[in-house]
Symmetry: D2
Subunit: 348 residues, 4 copies
């Protein structure tokens, strides 16, 4: 009944990718034990350990809000604080979830360029207020790729991790689009995480093509102590766990997780290439993942909407075009053509 949207609004507007859906169908044969004591969940765990070349501890939760908030809550006490970038999703779009799950931990917001934290910013907070009237920093969270589509280089992550170790802070990575970052850097998951000094990762499955479910991965098993109880109490332990874990197993085993992200990234670059240099159109951030932010005249924005295109707009005349695992080349070209025509009209 859903007529397909002409959408580039968000990668969570996309459906379930074929591999994930087939995995759910395969997992639907007969009965299985609940709460993760099933072969699919075991198989997914093994697939993660293989993909990360690490004996990591992992947990499946329902969505990104919970993945990030539970991970951060496990890293600090209510009277401690978390250093994040000014445009970090946990600060701007979680309705106070980190504060709720942690029972009051404060997010210390650093002004950034493109949402990237720096060792200097982290040091500034960690070495700034040290009196008892201010919640001491205990964790750092970085979004990879950032909310504007920038990707931290391995060097940047390592430098942040080094600063964290030096300052006694734990490092969390919000990987809602982790796969897109891995494709963008062409590195291994291990290189971008534990080998670079990341302690805990939220690995996004939904934007990667699944129906529901994210993974929280602890590279330091000691930090995972009690996290299973934490998930249960917070309403994040699925009874029919196999339907969250089976898609992970298959996507990791087949490489679909990375292939879909690569397609999304390519689609973004293709679109950026099509619209680069159009009169009055400005690409706001380097296109390093699957998002393209454009500054464009109001009438162009209106014109695209009038033609049925769906995308996000922000303060000013900026628009975000997000490319999902199912981004269609033909539709992208049509969008680009519409945009070109409207831009030229606007430029008169």
């Amino acid at each position: 009944m859903v007529e397909t949207l002409q959408q580039f609004a968000s990668d969570n507007y996309a459906g379930i990718c074929p591999e994930a859906l087939r995995a759910m169908e395969d997992a639907n044969r007969g009965s299985a034990q609940a709460y993760g004591d099933d072969p699919w969940t075991q198989r997914a765990a093994e697939a993660f350990r293989a993909a990360f070349q690490a004996d990591c501890e992992l947990f499946f939760v329902f969505n990104g809000t919970a993945a990030n908030s539970l991970a951060l809550a496990s890293l600090c006490q209510s009277y401690e604080s978390i250093i994040a970038a000014d445009i970090a999703h946990v600060e701007t779009d979680e309705c106070g979830a980190p504060e709720f799950f942690s029972n009051g931990a404060k997010i210390l917001v650093a002004r950034t360029e493109n949402g990237k934290l720096t060792p200097a910013a982290i040091r500034g907070f960690a070495l700034g207020r040290t009196d008892i009237h201010f919640p001491r920093p205990r964790a750092v969270t970085i979004t990879q790729p950032t909310e504007t589509g920038q990707v931290y280089s391995l060097e940047e992550i390592r430098a942040i991790a080094a600063a964290c170790r030096e300052l006694g802070l734990k490092l969390h990575m919000d990987g809602a689009r982790f796969a897109n970052a891995v494709d963008s850097l062409g590195c291994t998951p291990a290189e971008m995480t534990w080998r670079a000094g990341v302690d805990v990762l939220s690995f996004g499955g939904t934007k990667n093509g699944m129906a529901v479910g994210e993974a929280v991965i602890f590279f330091d098993r000691g930090l995972a102590e009690g996290f299973d109880y934490r998930c249960k109490q917070a309403g994040q332990l699925a009874s029919k766990m196999r339907f969250l874990s089976a898609p992970w197993a298959v996507m990791l085993e087949t490489g679909a997780w990375l292939a879909h992200a690569a397609h999304a990234n390519r689609s973004a670059r293709h679109f950026a290439g099509q619209v680069a240099g159009l009169p009055g159109i400005e690409i706001l951030f380097p296109v390093e993942a699957n998002a393209v932010f454009l500054k464009m005249p109001a009438e162009v924005t209106a014109g695209l909407r009038a033609r049925g295109w769906s995308f996000y707009t922000f303060i000013g005349d900026s628009a975000r075009f997000m490319f999902a695992w199912d981004a269609d080349r033909g539709r992208i070209d049509t969008l680009a053509a519409d945009l070109r025509a409207l831009a030229q009209d606007a430029a008169g």
Copy 2:
């Protein structure tokens, strides 16, 4: 890869029913807006309002822990309390989730027969401690059917609701197996809920045959104020909501929700009929829904396990056999035959 378990352990060991799976597949055509602004979610909402003959407000969350805990948290302040039965799931199996979501509301536990609360027990708490050193009761929660498979009659629910109104308490119904109760009483959903005086209902989808997702239904829309934000902050707002709502839409529209519950209830009664009167075997509670609790000799329990049967055992020699939407008549008969043989051997 999952070899089917010979299981009667829990209805959440079962898979996704055909109607729910097909709905997810149908909902997977193309893109749709996220967070519930999609046609499937709208359709599901309409199906609920039709099924309950009420202009109710509803929300989809991921699991029962969250459905019950968020509903209860919305009914009371942290310094208030919730009256529940001694075997209520919220008290015995949620790892403190109601206390966590409410930031400290206390559960007042009433001793009960078969897990059924009574107006007298509620009055006892509400009229007992009224000093400031004790959290004042503000809500009552009943499980329908109870954890031992008993079903409150409409008269019992009405009497409890009347006591609640008289005492200024809100009434919540934990309907993890709501459909089984509706089939058991042969009444309408409306009769068992708002017409009887229930304020908020947690309607279980998972045990009814879905992959994931429960519905929280407010019959008094005023009580739902802010609940959408509450869900978001608590990590219970699904981005690809259509995959939670589409199964509800189809199951409610087709009546599959009730048909599956009826099958499960019939299966339980059939099994109970088969094992009634076996030597040394005692049926512990009236079989009113889809569970059968048996007291049986330890060697019988061991014998069944040795033959590969999966079920829950509790303190003493009691065993719980739970029948799901996919309970197989042939397998039930085989289980009963095994049980008969073992019981007779044990009886020597």
Copy 3:
């Protein structure tokens, strides 16, 4: 303006003892640094360490609710639980404070005689439910003396502590009337606490004769990590700390803390001796501290009230007479005489 109550209702109805008041007056000379960086607080800390013969870490908070709740919150996570006696103050009279400060830790209530926990009861909880759906026990709290005035012997405390160590539980002592227990056992503070295996102690100052303020004492300094921030965030860090700490310093240095408790205990024993054997009057619990619980006919209770006596009554016809640091021998005798006369009339 306050006409003195003829009260034996509670030791917190009493005023400030002379030593505490004088200490506040002495501490009121000139200015001092805030938040505990003052000579009085340092002096109090030294007095505590001397009294406990231990290099303990200590904190001053405003009242017993906070002392117990903060201590317990520091010992467990929100998804863990605390084992307590059925009549423990933290369970029955704190309006959910432990659940609030811990963000949802559950109190597991053990049925007891006279409010005394036993190693068996603790083992029952710790070795009972071990699945993820139930909050795992992490701490034990005992009230010394209990709410009915019983005093744990050193052997009893050591046995409980041994069970805690064996089970990986931390042991907290609610010492709202700690001084009364020390006098009752005639032991040293060290013997009753860290030498017996207590990890954290709430030492009550208010009932001991101060205006406001309790001490939380950690014998294992590792457990105190971050507790100063915890107090600050929870609104329990006094700015003019010297007025909380100076009374402690003086009372510990002069021995007034113990002398006042000894007087209160003697007063209770004296009263018990006066009323023992009166017709229809039953002393409900052994008088081991500063409380006397009497079961008496309703008309006797009414008669005492009619004569202006203030005391607590509970379910049934039981009455609690509590003796404070300022209990007056003459008034006790008058009370006893009234009680005798009323009892004899009632016995007719």
Copy 4:
């Protein structure tokens, strides 16, 4: 034993004023009921209602952290937010207490001049983000006087209150130095609060000369519903309440509360007058209450410290001199003389 500090660091370094101490001594005659059911607390409540010409509901808590945090928690849900100035104490110096007491409400920080919020800033937040991913504003808090000693005019407060009403927000006033503001404006307490549209006030007693204790005053009694339970659960209900309330009763009845604040304000103006125009010394903010902020050369700061003066310094070379109820004119003149000499030396 405390040798008097040569301090102008904070008004909470000062001791207890004579009226407050005498009140505590007077209240110390005999016994009184606990938890506020005593004549002194009743008398204090009447004194507040007279002083505010309103039938307000009031509560006594232990300190300002609790007064502000409990008041704000009572005004919003965990998924809502509070608008505050960038230098508001609740944001900068409470170690996350508002987030803790509210279980996660977010503080939205407005950039300000001198810590003063404006209707425009409030509108900006209230009309900005309105999607479910951001906690909706529900309350506004203003500090009167601000942390830099500015005083909102009645017109400014009325304009803010009007904006709040228009936007459905509740208005809280952090009056840690409320008395200083009343003296500064020369208005009545009523004019500065409920008549101007303030819903809830935290009235500071400690900085006004008391040992401990602040008042939370609800001008809309409906907002106070359950606040007594909230205080109890949060560890803010004093058992020997009379020692918190008696000083309020006496200080309000005698006018000492205002006289002490007037003296502190005069002292600040006197000091400012003495140091105005000194070479290299700059008065950073208008002196409208009892604080004077100076920008001065590092060697002057060091010189003052070397001469034993105690004051706060902040980023840059700014120093805060705070004048308490007991500020001594002679000592101020000595300080000013030292400052003059050092400034002239520095200016060479």
